[in-house]
Symmetry: C2
Subunit: 379 residues, 2 copies
């Protein structure tokens, strides 16, 4: 099988896009990726999205995007794995090119979730969990992660303020990214004054939803030798419900998919120059670092406190804001992560540029860890 390269990148800013519709967001990102790649016609379009059926009264996004992007007739479909939808779309696109069956594939993530009346968005997000055994009890997605954070703090002896570095790093980096939702740095004091959302998760432990779209144009690597290449790609799943996990403080699907990706790339975590992880909540960032081998169990918070997650650290994360500051248009996030990794590899990350990036890792999580898509890119 042949290698896959990312020839084009497109993204909209993550905002409350009051004047821009779902399809307009998708078209903007898609057109930008096609223009960046200088490609006019694709063989297929894979669209990642989670909530359009609930919040936009629109399913059938594959055909919709193909139609409005001027790619009428092409094969197209939507992939859904909750907040892991875009990472899953990337996986399908890679497989289509690697297999030799397609020559140019557009993978696109889009989500428009802010023009709703509460509690629509909150209840739409619960569908990422187990409806019959978690949702039925009235959990929200934040409260579910709060249970995990509480357990993490208990088992490893942390206090709420210990998680601040994740937010400080994310917001500092978001301030350097014009596409980010939040573009102001914050201080430890601001972090600690954050209101409780679902104890112990406070305002600055939780990522914001938003509207946005990100797209990538994939081609065989031989056609784009200068472009960033995919050297590792894997998706794994875990139990849907948190209470069924073998260990609620271990992301098994992250471990499995990361190991597969490392093996495909012939490397280990020490070779990763930056890690766009899924910091939907600060505790998820910690668990991701541990489950992928960047820190021992319970030590990711210490790693963060030692500033190893900052741009000059050993494993920079959320380098352009992450979910926390760049924002989390849920079904699009996985492709924002990869788009940012590509910009970093190209040296096009502007003020957010991490020096000497050659190998970047991205990880997109669906739900509380039930679907995890890990990719490793190199240039």
């Amino acid at each position: 099988m042949r290698e896959v390269a990312i020839l084009g990148v497109g993204q909209t800013a993550v905002r409350e896009h009051w004047d821009v519709s779902l399809r307009q967001l998708a078209v903007a990102a898609g057109q930008a990726a096609l223009a960046d790649a200088d490609v006019r016609r694709v063989d297929a379009i894979y669209v990642g999205n989670m909530t359009s059926g609930n919040l936009n009264e629109q399913h059938h996004l594959g055909a919709l995007v193909a139609d409005h992007l001027g790619q009428r007739g092409v094969e197209a479909v939507k992939l859904e794995a909750a907040c892991g939808s875009a990472g899953s779309a990337m996986r399908q696109g890679i497989m289509a090119i690697a297999s030799g069956q397609m020559e140019a594939v557009l993978v696109l993530g889009v989500e428009k979730m802010t023009e709703t009346v509460f509690p629509e968005t909150t209840s739409a997000l619960v569908t990422a969990a187990d409806a019959d055994y978690e949702g039925v009890h009235g959990i929200t997605f934040v409260s579910l992660n709060a249970l995990i954070m509480r357990r993490y703090m208990h088992e490893y002896g942390y206090e709420r303020g210990d998680f601040a570095p994740f937010a400080l790093n994310a917001h500092a980096n978001g301030a350097k990214n014009p596409h980010a939702f939040f573009r102001e740095p914050i201080t430890q004091n601001i972090y600690e004054k954050g209101r409780v959302v679902a104890d112990p998760i406070t305002l600055f432990d939780a990522s914001p939803i938003g509207d946005g779209a990100a797209a990538l144009l994939l081609v065989p690597a031989e056609k784009a030798p200068q472009a960033a290449r995919v050297v590792g790609s894997a998706v794994a799943t875990d139990t849907l419900a948190v209470h069924d996990r073998e260990d609620m403080l271990w992301l098994k699907a992250a471990e499995i998919s990361a190991r597969r990706a490392y093996a495909q790339a012939g490397i280990g975590p020490e070779a990763i120059d930056l890690f766009e992880l899924h910091d939907a909540f600060s505790v998820m960032a910690a668990l991701s670092l541990e489950s992928c081998g960047f820190a021992d169990r319970g030590q990711a918070v210490r790693l963060a406190q030692a500033r190893e997650i900052f741009p000059d650290g050993r494993v920079p994360i959320a380098t352009m804001g992450g979910l926390k500051a760049r924002g989390h248009p849920v079904g699009a996030t996985g492709l924002y992560q990869i788009a940012e990794a590509v910009l970093q590899l190209r040296g096009d990350a502007g003020p957010a540029q991490i020096d000497g990036v050659r190998t970047a890792m991205t990880q997109n999580i669906g739900g509380s860890g039930a679907t995890i898509a890990t990719h490793i890119l190199r240039r």
Copy 2:
């Protein structure tokens, strides 16, 4: 690339399954397919479904099905293309095996849509159309197809009663299929007494929704030389909105995907022994036959009146009831079609058996024709 065979088939009956949940339906079909294939572990699961986020408050079906089917950890994702979801899942599964990347893939379609309070299901189904330009005007999916049927009758000079053979054939065949939703034959008189749903569509021109799941276990053909093989597989799209179609009485995506599948198989429509087409509405059956080359424009109704669509005709359709009588659990239908085609090819269709079937075609349509997945199987 290598050929793909269908080693295992599983399906539940299509019913109002008051006592069976979404996941239980999926597990029943999945376990049946695995047992039929005598395979214990798969490399990936592709799940087709349309409305679970709206009607079951449950997204994330890939991980859910992997978890509850005892396949924890495997790669899994949901594919959605409205009523074309299951055909799209089949396409992804075929690509994964054909590419050499996977050795055993489960493709599964599931839908549970009858335990809702009106108008939830009706509004959920409108999401298959264009929300901003069709849905906003208050169309239902039936009324949208009614516009098409009205135009068809006008352009080709038909009356409502002329469409009866589609329903008569479907119900007669459904009566021979214990998995079918409707299992009684009907007469011309019964057809003509059918109440108007959305003029000119009457009760017997429209397929019933239902609850059900169907699954297939795919392997490389070299591992299962006796099994039914996929000799053609293609997905194409068209404009989402009916009013944007080049010709509202031509399914361009059916034409494109069928031509590609014919070419892959090295045949034409004359070589097809049976056609499990997407008879969501009788007019869709007619347009499918015409767009795939089984009848000239406007002549499919005459073909049906000449009984060529019946079991002893030139192109048997809905051989085990079709959407009309077997039922239409929307996101699962595409895999019911293929499961039935496999049973026919195996000689396992019981009283519904069509004699001498060697080559079967299936076609799954999303929305009013915006996504169409065509498959050709041979044994």
